[in-house]
């Protein structure tokens, strides 16, 4: 029983990291119709940069911020250049970001090498504590990740549902042209959303570097998770990203814990189920 609770917490922690990556991905797709396949590479790059900054400054939090901000800047640059040049063609954007993966992966390999790296949590975060009620000893770092993810999820929800900016973003997901016709600077909104997405991914990279490690191929792994999330939750749906992350995080973790031989493919089960029953995702809109 204690084991199960611990695994559930592990799954939720994973869900937290996945959520941070997939929410950005889904918002970017939702409002801009851009499939940023390099989102996983952004995650990894943010993690690597965080690692280096932590190594230089000996401060986890500075590294965390560095990872997030550096990827935000990268996202802004990317959006203003490549994405803008490619215009509206969805396939072109997909293919270009595919090419970008190779570039980013290679650069990361050149700078940080192929050996897996781990980010260590400072002080109390690196320790474990006994959880009430069950007496399980659980790493604080994971609780921290879980907590941070929940806070951000709630914060983003508030942003999207309760603020004017959020309303604009949601309207943009629904109907881009209309938003533009309402006199809103759509290009600014695009840049904002894209930057927010990559910021989240970079942030997630540093967090992920603590429990999931940073290694060549981590970007593909996290990308797979993010994609499974958007399939299950629905492309473009923020709440779908939350729901999907919880499902995928838990399923993957239980799979790895209890069925290690086919762990990777256990992930596919919710994906296939959703595709058979509701192809546009549990909370997705029917495709036009």
């Amino acid at each position: 029983m204690a084991e199960f609770v611990a695994q559930t917490l592990n799954g939720l922690t994973l869900a937290g990291v996945i959520f941070l990556v997939s929410s950005g991905f889904t918002l970017i797709f939702g409002i801009m119709r851009v499939t940023n396949l390099s989102h996983g590479a952004v995650y990894l790059l943010g993690g690597y940069i965080g690692y280096s900054v932590i190594a230089a400054t000996h401060s986890f939090f500075i590294g965390l911020i560095a990872g997030a901000l550096s990827m935000a800047a990268f996202g802004l640059l990317l959006e203003r250049t490549l994405i803008t040049w490619l215009g509206r063609s969805e396939m072109s954007e997909l293919l270009a970001t595919l090419g970008l993966i190779y570039v980013l992966d290679d650069v990361a390999l050149a700078i940080w090498g192929g050996t897996p790296l781990t980010i260590n949590l400072p002080g109390v975060l690196g320790q474990s504590s006994t959880l009430p009620l069950s007496g399980i000893v659980y790493p604080n770092g994971r609780l921290f990740i879980l907590g941070v993810s929940v806070v951000i999820a709630v914060g983003l929800y508030y942003l999207l549902r309760r603020t004017r900016v959020g309303a604009i973003i949601r309207a943009g997901v629904d109907d881009r042209e209309m938003v533009g016709a309402l006199g809103i600077n759509v290009r600014l909104v695009f840049a904002l959303v894209f930057t927010l997405g990559t910021l989240l991914a970079g942030f997630a990279g540093v967090l992920g570097g603590t429990v999931l490690n940073l290694y060549t191929g981590a970007d593909s792994d996290i990308l797979l998770f993010a994609l499974a999330v958007v399939i299950v939750g629905g492309l473009g749906s923020y709440e779908g990203a939350i729901l999907g992350s919880v499902v995928i995080g838990l399923v993957d973790n239980y799979g790895t814990a209890y069925f290690p031989a086919i762990a990777y493919s256990v992930l596919f089960i919710p994906v296939i189920l959703v595709l058979l029953i509701k192809p546009q995702g549990l909370l997705g809109k029917p495709s036009t």
Binding site: L98, G99, Y102, I231, P260
Partner: protein
């Protein structure tokens, strides 16, 4: 373009003593130009066939490279059938190829004869295609890409983790290749020739399919699926069939792969490999049969040759893809076609001039018209 015979020369009076009227010469020249233009395709094809055949004769690095290119080309052409023509780009090709390869390897490990192994592998690939197709056709566009990406990753994960079956990261080596009467694929030359033969057969089948009513319907699916449905087509079925065909041919490539390399390991199926196939097709030229083959050759060349001189060749490849998407979406083959358009346009203009040039009145002593000057 049909050769309409020589242009009108009646009455094109030339100044006395100049022999043949220029009209007939011009007409003959035009005909021979058109004929040679028509032949460039077939001639290039025959030349390529001959060159390939010759390159494969000796057992050296070049022939190994060419065989690799041919195997990948088969998978790339199949991918284009689904992606370029039907509009469903799959990021799971390497996964399917891996299934074809592992199928043979695992069967041989379990003591099946090589031919039985081939049969089992192709049956598995076909079954996988038929089953997954039901799910795959429920989505289109970007969602389809995502599904196939996930599929590719899951297949790779299986190869990696289901150690009992796949021997994990070590991969499986295949020692025995099939024999068919006098043709022993264990002999390297026979194997290379077989690969070449399969390449041409697959290419021929794809060419036929693209130009068939079924192929036309796939282009219609890509162009305007809703309208095609309104014309009475069951478009989901057409997409399903295209998927199954593509998966099967890719599986064939996988079988050849494991025979050529005598080893299959998960790295053949990782994300990078999946992306590579898409790059081959885009680089080579979507919606062409030969473009992807060309793209496969280029990418294999990059991998084997360029990697020696340029450590960061992957960056280069990624940048090349981005550049192609930005500046030349038709890929290399698009450039070839564009190169062919100018002579075509020129010939068409010359032909139009020939046909519309009216025969001058017999009594006229006007010098032969040269048509509008440009």
């Amino acid at each position: 373009m049909t050769a309409a015979g020589v242009g009108p020369d009646a009455g094109a009076v030339s100044p006395a003593g100049q022999g043949r009227p220029p009209g007939r010469l011009a007409g003959l020249a035009l005909v021979s130009l058109e004929r040679s233009r028509q032949l460039t395709g077939p001639v290039a094809g025959v030349a390529a066939a001959v060159i390939l055949f010759l390159l494969l004769q000796s057992d050296n690095f070049t022939s190994t490279l060419v065989v690799d290119m041919l195997v990948y080309a088969i998978a790339a052409m199949a991918l284009d059938f689904l992606g370029g023509y039907t509009g469903l780009i799959s990021l799971g090709q390497a996964g399917i190829l891996g299934v074809g390869a592992y199928g043979v390897a695992i069967a041989e490990v379990h003591f099946f004869s090589p031919w039985a192994a081939v049969g089992i592998s192709l049956a598995v690939v076909l079954a996988l295609g038929l089953a997954l197709g039901i799910v795959a056709v429920r989505v289109k566009g970007v969602s389809f890409v995502i599904i196939t990406l996930a599929l590719g990753q899951v297949l790779w994960g299986l190869a990696f983790q289901w150690v009992g079956l796949s021997e994990g990261d070590n991969g499986i080596s295949v020692a025995t290749l099939p024999t068919l009467g006098p043709f022993d694929l264990n002999d390297p030359l026979t194997l290379r020739m077989t690969v070449l033969l399969v390449f041409w057969v697959v290419a021929l089948l794809l060419v036929l399919m693209v130009h068939s009513p079924f192929g036309l319907s796939l282009r219609g699916v890509r162009s305007n699926e809703a309208r095609l449905a309104a014309l009475g087509y069951r478009t989901g079925l057409h997409r399903y069939l295209a998927w199954v065909i593509t998966v099967f041919f890719t599986g064939v490539a996988g079988v050849l792969y494991v025979f050529v390399n005598q080893l299959i390991s998960p790295s053949t199926m990782d994300f990078s490999a999946n992306g590579l196939f898409v790059i081959m097709v885009v680089l080579g030229g979507l919606r062409s049969i030969w473009g992807p083959a060309l793209g496969a050759a280029v990418i294999v060349g990059f991998q084997q040759e360029l990697s020696i001189y340029v450590t960061r060749w992957q960056t280069l490849m990624g940048l090349t893809l981005i550049a192609v998407v930005l500046f030349s979406p038709g890929g290399f083959w698009g450039l070839v076609r564009a190169a062919g358009r100018r002579p075509d346009a020129l010939l068409a203009r010359l032909r139009a001039r020939q046909v519309t040039r009216p025969p001058p009145a017999p009594a006229s002593r006007a010098p032969a018209q040269q048509g509008e000057t440009r």
